[in-house]
Amino acid sequence: MKPVPVLWLIWPLLAVLGLFFAALLRFADTSLLQQIPGTAMFEGPRSLGNYADTFASPLARKALWDTLVMSLQITGAAIVLGYPLAYLMARSPSKFLRNAIFFVLIVTFLSGGITRAYAWMLVLGNNGPVNGLLREFGLPTVRMVNNRTGVVLSIVHFVLPFFVLTLLGAIRNIPASLEEAARSHGASRWAAFRDVTLPLSVPGLVSASLLAFTLAISSFLFPLLLGGGRVQMFANLIYDKIQSSFDMPAASAMAMIFLVFALLPILALNLIRGSLSRRFGGTRR
């Protein structure tokens, strides 16, 4: 039997990818059509009217802006909280500490979104343990649900395991002997980290941050449950457009705009990634 040329194996793959992409194209095409008023149906002619309407809508502009700002805040928080965790997991001599961090992250990872959202509602609620503790000490209570605080907190919690596990691999790939070499040549613990491990972990940090940003910007469940209707992230706005106005073309247009905004930082980082890996090298020994 003659071997099947390897190139033929690409066709099933292309078919699957094509199907996915066709769905997106159909959606893009829909964004150019118009809703038939009072129905869930839509018709031609094609125009950019939906895009103009979206950009003209203060509500949509605010949601887009808020979503971007919150996603950046969430990514920033993931870096601040996640880098030390990843570093400890990669470098701590204590096996117990490494396993403890891993366990806590994985439990978070495996519990479903709804479970976590309701858990956060209980913890952060006005009668929850956090405010209970504040009250105990005679401090004013803080409103943390049905506002941005709760939404951002819960999404940080959601993206943190993805961030830490991605970065962990990158830090683990940097030989510990590099830091030791720096120290043996006169660098303090901090200087060795700043001059060696930190720059070498930048490519991993970029990947982990991109992942965190992408997950954050497409949040839907947490703003829905913890935002109490007051926090509109863009995915929620699109959902409302379909579920309450049945305006599929307008929702498609918003989704396309949203896609572009989500892709921009990824494209930008991909463009500079070449110079990044040039500057920070591989972790070749």
Binding site: P175, S177, L178, E180, A181, A182, R183, S184, H185, G186, A187, S188, R189, A191, D195, V196, P199, L200, R279, F280, G281, G282, T283, R284, R285
Partner: protein, 363 residues
């Protein structure tokens, strides 16, 4: 404890002094009380099989592992609990541990930059160090653009650029192929001598230790079994472990008496006590014999009687395996040349031992 005092070393001041060093990992005792001195400008090898504790000793000197007890002093200063960066002891790692995101020049200048040496002074010293290891043409390259030998020399230049009080080398030639390794060993020895830099090198390769060190500490199971100059270690190992590790071919059961030695029923007269013999320690013992220090003669000339059991031609030498009457076997290595006759298998011979070393009984 040394057999022959190293007079040259005693005249020089002590650079490194280690006393009673102990270290355990969990319930395993890795280093069980190690003491040694290293003179200024001296080079000491810690030689032993993997897992013997030699690397742990080096890491404690460097400051990457903290001893449970004992002290380490460098130039009279107690550094036992000092952070690695405050010891002024530069280490060259087995993997070289070059910073991949820095050029060769930046790597070599790293220790100087950290010490806030001025830019112009830094340039000069980077250049000097690179010239010493003949890498001045490669200053702007990145480590990934260098060959293994060049990476090794970069690591060495980085270590000497800071003018450390002590140079620590952890299996520095392990990753190089044989030819390059020997060239680099001799180069390192010359460099170390010209700089007069006190150096500790960890290796499992006895030949490397012989080439590089002026004293060798054989480490076994967390202890120093013998600390001697290379030639003495080679000729007169003190224990069976050292003898085997130094590649001594023959370790024989013998009986020692004043003025004589009996092996396999044959008694040889000795005009002076063999190396390692102690007064009052006569009786059954083990002796170490190098194959090249033993000669073969015809029966009756007064050696140990035996029969040639096997013969291997090694080119310039012939290796005989001689069976003794009690079943022990002696390896004998003799020079071979076209006009020299070799002995056939089955021939009765007399084994005349030379360089006999009496080994200490196992503890």
């Amino acid at each position: 404890m040394q057999h022959v005092p190293d007079i040259a070393a005693q005249e020089r001041a002590t650079a490194l002094r280690i006393s009673g060093l102990k270290k355990s990992f969990g319930s395993t005792l890795a280093v069980k009380g190690v003491s040694l001195d290293l003179a200024e400008g001296g080079i000491l090898a810690l030689l032993g099989p993997s897992g013997c504790g030699k690397t742990t000793i080096l890491r404690m000197i460097a400051g990457f592992a903290e001893p449970d007890s004992g002290t380490i002093a460098l130039n009279g200063r107690d550094i036992t609990r000092l952070a690695p960066e405050k010891r002024n002891a530069a280490m060259v790692f087995q993997s070289y541990a070059l910073f991949p995101h820095m050029t060769v020049a930046e790597n070599v200048g790293y220790g100087l930059k950290i010490r806030r040496v001025s830019r112009s002074e830094r340039e000069t010293r980077i250049w000097d160090a690179l010239k010493l290891v003949r890498l001045d043409q490669f200053a702007r390259r990145y480590p990934s653009e260098l060959s293994g030998g060049q990476q090794q020399r970069t690591a060495l230049a980085r270590a000497i650029a800071t003018r450390p009080d002590l140079l620590l080398l952890d299996e520095p030639f392990g990753a190089l192929d044989q030819n390059l390794r020997e060239a680099m060993q001799i180069e390192l020895r010359k460099l170390q001598e010209s700089l007069g830099l006190a150096t500790v090198i960890v290796t499992h390769d006895q030949q490397e230790a012989m080439i590089l060190a002026d004293r060798i500490a054989v480490v076994n199971d967390g202890r120093i079994e013998q600390l001697s100059p290379p030639a003495e270690l080679y000729d007169h190992p003190r224990t069976r472990f050292v003898a085997e590790f130094m590649g001594v071919e023959n370790i024989l059961d013998a009986v020692l008496a004043p003025g004589s030695l009996t092996v396999a029923g044959s008694t040889i007269a000795l005009d002076r006590p063999p190396a390692g013999a102690r007064p009052g320690r006569d009786g059954p013992c083990q002796i170490a014999l190098r194959a090249e220090a033993v000669t073969l003669g015809d029966p009756g000339i007064g050696g140990i009687g035996g029969t040639i059991g096997y013969r291997t031609n090694l080119g310039g030498r012939v290796l005989y395996e001689v069976s003794l009457s009690d079943g022990q076997m002696v390896k004998v290595s003799e020079a071979r040349a076209p006009d020299l006759p070799t002995r056939p298998v089955g021939q009765k011979v007399s084994v005349v031992p030379g360089g006999i070393t009496v080994l200490e009984p196992a503890a």
